[in-house]
């Protein structure tokens, strides 16, 4: 068993270099910090890898063997490395001589923190150890239980793993792995890779994916925050995110919502950083993250994509964007997601979540109290959404002073009302089962909004 875990760790590690190089390549304005590149790279590595595996199998007709997996994990190292070399005439090789001095600097930095910040950080780490330990216990000992896991996400992974291919016969039960065929395959193919590395499709190994997503989300959130933001705010915000009950719960639920929430966060927050003047690189990263959100869940294509198209057009019209940047942003996003969108189009997969989707406008007045209760009262999100709404209602005037915060608030509001509007005003909400989960996808952005609001308008608060 320990050997299997070691193999899984190696399988995850091997996806990092290609992702890091992609993050490095995107960062032409040299805006990303090392920690941000490090963890965003991992995320991009996972998603790029699964998309390459999919393309190799579906378009290249290659069965899923070691060659395809290893090829998909390393070939882009050369591709991205070459492009970096063209741009910079050098390669970002790791230099072991820099490692010890770097560690010393980090240690020195930590020593310079005040006692309150150190205590908050210690508390964050301690609570994370407890949470991760509890999730690990669940994943290790409790079999796959939740509906969409055995009906879709894990079923598809198991079928693809067993057949060593994505089943393409649409007349068969297990077309594209079974379940709802329009669901994208990012999460499932990552689980195939974990099973392949472990040597067998076992729940305790493949369900580790959710815990990896949880940790990646927290790390990306923490390291995405610019250095000028009060470190204590940053730590408290990361703790707040880590402790959101439903979000934490999904660290041991084998669904794809958590993975999707990371891409959604990156898509929107990157444009926020771009508007805040942190560099063009963020604008390009946003496009790539949007592309991978489409590769992760259908909300990416049906809701986030149109919202981002309109918001980028708006920024273009008000001259916050140059046309050249706008064009390349969408070009690289389209290039990234092309294999999946082409496949969807050719095979006429539905855009919406169900396979036989209807989309009629109705008024589900009976759902309103449940929607309000789920978002505000049930402790799914602690008091996050209450705080966001009160901040906007009572402190909305302040937002006039910051375009980037206006953008973040506006996007959050548009996506929030789109999500919940679909539940209240269409016949897509069969049983409200997705209600809390779709609002969960927005929580990293909501936490970020509160943190940046405080930073922008109340940064002079000294808590120590």
């Amino acid at each position: 068993m320990i050997f299997s875990y070691l193999k899984i760790i190696l399988a995850i590690l091997i996806l990092w270099p290609r992702g890091y190089l992609l993050a490095y390549l995107i960062d032409r304005s040299k805006s990303f910090g090392f920690g941000f590149k490090f963890f965003v790279g991992w995320l991009l590595g996972i998603a790029g890898f699964t998309l390459d595996v999919f393309a190799a199998n579906v378009f290249g007709h290659q069965p899923l063997t070691w060659w395809v997996f290893l090829g998909s994990s390393v070939t882009q190292i050369f591709g991205f490395g070459f492009m970096i070399f063209i741009a910079e005439k050098k390669l970002p090789w790791p230099n072991s001589k820099h490692f010890i001095p770097w560690l010393k600097v980090q240690r020195q930095n930590f020593k310079s923190w005040d006692l309150l910040t150190k205590s908050a950080f210690g508390f964050l780490v301690l609570t994370l150890i407890i949470r991760v330990g509890a999730s690990l216990w669940q994943i290790t000992y409790i079999p796959t239980y939740d509906f969409d896991a055995w009906n879709n996400w894990n079923l598809r992974a198991k079928v693809i793993y067993t057949q060593a291919a994505v089943p393409l016969d649409s007349n068969q039960n297990f077309y594209l792995g079974g379940g709802i065929k329009s669901y994208p395959l990012n999460d499932s193919i990552f689980k195939v890779w974990l099973a392949f590395a472990a040597g067998d499709f076992v729940d305790r190994f493949v369900n580790l994916a959710s815990l990896i997503y949880y940790l990646l989300l927290l790390a990306i959130f923490y390291f995405s925050v610019p250095k000028n933001v009060n470190r204590l705010f940053k730590i408290i915000a990361t703790y707040a995110l880590s402790s959101l009950p439903l979000l934490y719960f999904h660290s041991h639920v084998p669904y794809a919502d958590l993975l999707f929430s990371i891409f959604l966060f990156l898509t929107v927050i990157s444009i926020f950083y771009f508007l805040a003047g942190l560099g063009n690189s963020y604008f390009y990263l946003s496009g790539i993250a949007l592309a991978f959100s489409i590769w992760t869940k259908n909300e990416g294509l049906s809701i986030i994509f149109p919202v981002m198209v309109f918001s980028s057009l708006y920024l273009l019209i008000i001259k916050k964007l140059r046309f050249k940047d706008w064009f390349w942003h969408w070009f690289f996003a389209a290039l990234t997601i092309f294999p999946w969108l082409a496949f969807r189009f050719l095979n006429r997969l539905d855009i919406l979540s169900g396979d036989s989707s209807t989309f009629n406008l109705v008024f589900n007045s009976q759902f309103i109290s449940e929607v309000l209760s789920s978002i505000f009262l049930r402790s799914h999100f602690n008091f996050l959404w209450l705080a966001v709404f009160m901040l906007i209602i009572f402190g909305g005037n302040n937002l006039k002073r910051s375009l980037s915060l206006q953008y973040l608030t506006g996007l959050l509001a548009v996506i929030f009302f789109s999500y919940n509007g679909i539940i209240i005003f269409t016949d897509k909400a069969y049983d409200l089962s997705a209600l809390a989960r779709i609002n969960m996808q927005l929580t990293p952005l909501a936490v970020a909004l509160i943190m940046f609001y405080f930073h922008k308008f109340f940064a002079k608060i000294k808590l120590s």
Binding site: P143, D146, W150, A240, P245, F249, A387, L463
Partner: protein, 368 residues
């Protein structure tokens, strides 16, 4: 700023008034509604009814009244009241088998209950006291309520006393106690939690006014901003602690019901022994690639089995294939005369044999 402060103080005053108006303070009062003397005098006989039990009599025993419970009896109290009158129900009883007591408001009409009105009781020679807080929306005005006495098989329940009480103090204690009461794990927990409740309402309803005041302080009152922020963090910590406790409780339930017991008795959440059954099917279905599946219980079982035993293909019942797997179907029997499986409509297979038995109603059948 003055204008805003005025608005804030006005808002705060209105909130406090509304809050206090909706929380009356009771005088201490008690009403014994069930005990031996009241039955002897005949007073209680008209207000109580025994339901869903073959023996509708009560027999004196140990200063109380004995009920021979078939396993699912109800005691129904048919006098109306509201929680403004009585906000606590005290039951003093003893049982000879493990028992689950459930209180149901308006049992003959709306039948409203929840996990807050359920208590498990271990057998004991001494009387045990159980309290149910009635300060709950189900008991705002009830016409009657029922006490369900559920045991696995017949049990003897001796009730010494049942009292309705108006408890003046202890609202805060009750609110805290309600807030920390754990809901049982629900199969829908991946989508929504059974929120922590206070008096039958989501606990956050109580927090909203406090939260509003604190956020207003943060936004408009620089002087109090620091302390308001600290209190907001504290409020967040309380919810975090509460929900962490809930998760811990889920883990404990899984440990006690699924991990710790032996294979024969372990039960996995709301699917009972189905996961053990799936393992058993996988190990006994060597040599064929698919089977018809007949099951009883959750409609999810065929899809769960599809995932658990893949690449074995689980077919809907009635397909043309040699193997048939049956799970907990009392209506499907093997007929020795013609070696076929029958349900109530007639034969469902060609002749064959049962090759493995999981339990009396679950087995694997192969056609010749």
């Amino acid at each position: 700023m003055i204008n805003m402060r005025f608005k804030f103080i006005l808002f705060f005053a209105i909130f406090i008034s509304v809050f206090l108006a909706s929380h009356p303070v009771w005088a201490e009062e008690t009403k014994v509604i069930f005990d031996f003397p009241s039955f002897v005098s005949g007073q209680a006989g008209e207000t109580w009814q025994i339901f869903n039990n073959s023996d509708e009599g009560l027999y004196p025993q140990d200063e109380g009244l004995l009920l021979h419970n078939d396993g699912d009896a109800y005691l129904i109290y048919n006098q109306p009241f509201g929680y403004d009158q009585f906000n606590n129900l005290m039951i003093e009883l003893k049982v000879n088998r493990p028992l689950v007591i459930t209180l149901t408001a308006d049992i003959q009409t709306l039948a409203q209950t929840s996990f807050e009105f359920q208590r498990a009781l271990d057998p004991s020679d001494d009387y045990q006291v159980i309290n149910f807080s009635l300060r709950h929306r189900f008991f705002k005005n009830v016409k009657e309520f029922g006490i369900n006495l559920h045991s696995a098989g017949a049990s003897d329940v001796v009730v010494k006393q049942i009292k309705l009480e108006a408890v003046g103090a202890g609202i805060v204690k009750q609110a805290v106690s309600d807030y920390w009461r754990m809901a049982p794990y629900s199969p829908y927990t991946v989508n929504l939690f059974p929120a922590p409740l206070i008096f039958g309402h989501p606990g956050f309803i109580v927090f909203i006014p406090v939260l509003t005041v604190l956020i207003l302080l943060v936004i408009y009152f620089q002087r109090w901003r620091k302390w308001a922020l600290i209190l907001l963090v504290a409020l967040w910590l309380i919810t975090d602690l509460r929900m962490a406790y809930e998760f811990l409780n889920y883990h404990l339930v899984d440990y006690r019901s699924y991990l710790s017991p032996s294979t024969q008795v372990k039960s996995f959440r709301n699917y009972g022994d189905f996961y053990q059954f799936a393992d058993w099917v996988e190990s006994h279905c060597q040599g064929f690639s698919n089977f018809n599946f007949y099951s009883f219980g959750s409609s999810h079982l065929p899809r769960i089995l599809t995932y658990l035993v893949y690449p074995l293909d689980v077919l809907p019942s009635g397909n043309q294939t040699k193997a048939t797997v049956v799970y907990n179907r009392q209506d499907i029997k093997y007929n020795d005369q013609d070696s076929r499986l029958y349900n109530q409509q007639g034969p469902i297979t060609d002749p064959g044999e049962i090759i493995a038995v999981y339990n009396d109603d679950s087995f694997i059948f192969i056609e010749q």
